[in-house]
Amino acid sequence: MIKSLTLPDPERDHIHGSADGSIKLLEYGDYECPFCADAQLIVKEIQQRLGDDLLFAFRHFPLTNIHPHAEHAAEAAEAAGAEGNFWGMHDILFENQAALEDEDLATYAAGLGLDGTRLIREVASSVYAPRIRDDFKSGVRGGVNGTPTFFINGERYDGKVDLEHLLGASGGFA
C-alpha cells in the first residue's frame, strides 16, 4: 500500500537525500519521456543545492502506448533497485533515452556491476510490473496528468519545470 499519493514514503519509495529532509520532492516520471530527461538535470541541480534539506523520491508513470520502452525501462530500474542500485540505473536510463532496448538494459546492468542476465529475466517475467502499476495508479489518483509531474511537500507543482521556478517553489533560491 502507498501511504500517500503525493508525499514520499521512505519505507516504500526509492528515496534520495535525507529521510529527515524538510523539503519533500516527489516526481512521477517516465524514462522514455523527453521532458522527464530534461527535468532530470534540474532535479540533480536542486539536489546539489539543497543537500540534506531535500528528500527526493521517484515513482514510475510510464505512458506505455506512446513510449514502448518505458515499461521495461522502469522494470529495469526496479530490478537494479532489488540489487541495491536503483539510482545508478535511473541516471543511466535518462542519459540514454534513445537506447532502451532489452539488450541495452542488460548492458547498463553489467556496467553497474549488476547481474544483467538476472535483470533481463526479471524484466521478461514482469516481476516488478505490479509495483510499477501501483506507482502509476497512485499518480492517477493523486492528480498526475502527464509527465513529469512534481509534488512539493504534498502539493502538486503546476509551474514551469526549470531550475529557477522549481527550486524557488522548493524553498531554495536559484
Binding site: 502506448n65 506512446i66 495508479k137 489518483r141 496528468n145 502527464g146
Partner: protein
C-alpha cells in the same frame, strides 16, 4: 489546482451551460471510424465516460487521451466505456488514434459540426470546437457527474474514477434498499 475540483459530490463545477447531474444524457449517433457509427444508447447497462476535447493533435489533448488510454484497465474495473469526442472528422481521428495507439473510440462530432457538444452544453462558439468536458453517464443513461476544465488544462482521470466509484457505491446501496 484541478484536483480540488474533482469531488464527485459536487457533481458539476458550475459551468454555465454544461448538462449537470440528474439530467438524461442526450442520445447521439456519430462516426467512430470512416465506415462505422456508434450510438450512446448501445452502452446502456454500463457506465459511459464521455470525454469532449477541443482537437486531435493539440498538445494537451494528446496527453489527456494518452492518459485515458493508460487508465483503461481501471475504467474497465467499473465496466465503463470511454468515448473521446471532438469536432474532428473520422479520418483525422483514425490518424490520431493510430499515432497514439489509442484503444478506445474517438467520435467525430463533425456534421453538423458540434451538434452533440451543443446538446451537452459544451460547444465553444468562439473557438468552433468542443470544450474540454467530462461526463460520467450511469447505466440508465442519466448523467451522474460532469466537469468542464479550462481549455488548456488536462483534467486527468481522478475525477472520473471518483465518479465511477461513487456510482458503484450508489448501485450497491440501491440493491440493498430493494
Amino acid at each position: 489546482m484541478s484536483t480540488t475540483t474533482t469531488n464527485p459530490q459536487t457533481l458539476s463545477n458550475g459551468h454555465r451551460s454544461a448538462l449537470s447531474s440528474g439530467t438524461p444524457a442526450p442520445d447521439f449517433t456519430l462516426r467512430c471510424t470512416p465506415d462505422q457509427s456508434v450510438s450512446l444508447s448501445e452502452f446502456r447497462s454500463r457506465p459511459v465516460v464521455l470525454a469532449f476535447y477541443p482537437a486531435d493533435w493539440s498538445p494537451v489533448c494528446g496527453d489527456q487521451m494518452a492518459l485515458y488510454n493508460e487508465v483503461l484497465d481501471e475504467f474497465q474495473e467499473f465496466q465503463a466505456e470511454v468515448l473521446g469526442i471532438s469536432v474532428d472528422g473520422a479520418w483525422c481521428h483514425a490518424a490520431f488514434a493510430r499515432q497514439n495507439k489509442l484503444h478506445f473510440p474517438l467520435l467525430a462530432d463533425f456534421e453538423p459540426k458540434g451538434a452533440v457538444a451543443r446538446a451537452y452544453g459544451v460547444y465553444d462558439e468562439k473557438g468552433g470546437t468542443c470544450e474540454r468536458a467530462l461526463f460520467v453517464i450511469d447505466p440508465n443513461g442519466i448523467i451522474h457527474w460532469s466537469y468542464v476544465s479550462p481549455i488548456g488544462v488536462n483534467p486527468g482521470a481522478n475525477g472520473i474514477l471518483s465518479a465511477l466509484e461513487d456510482l458503484k457505491a450508489k448501485k450497491r446501496n440501491d440493491r440493498r434498499d430493494k
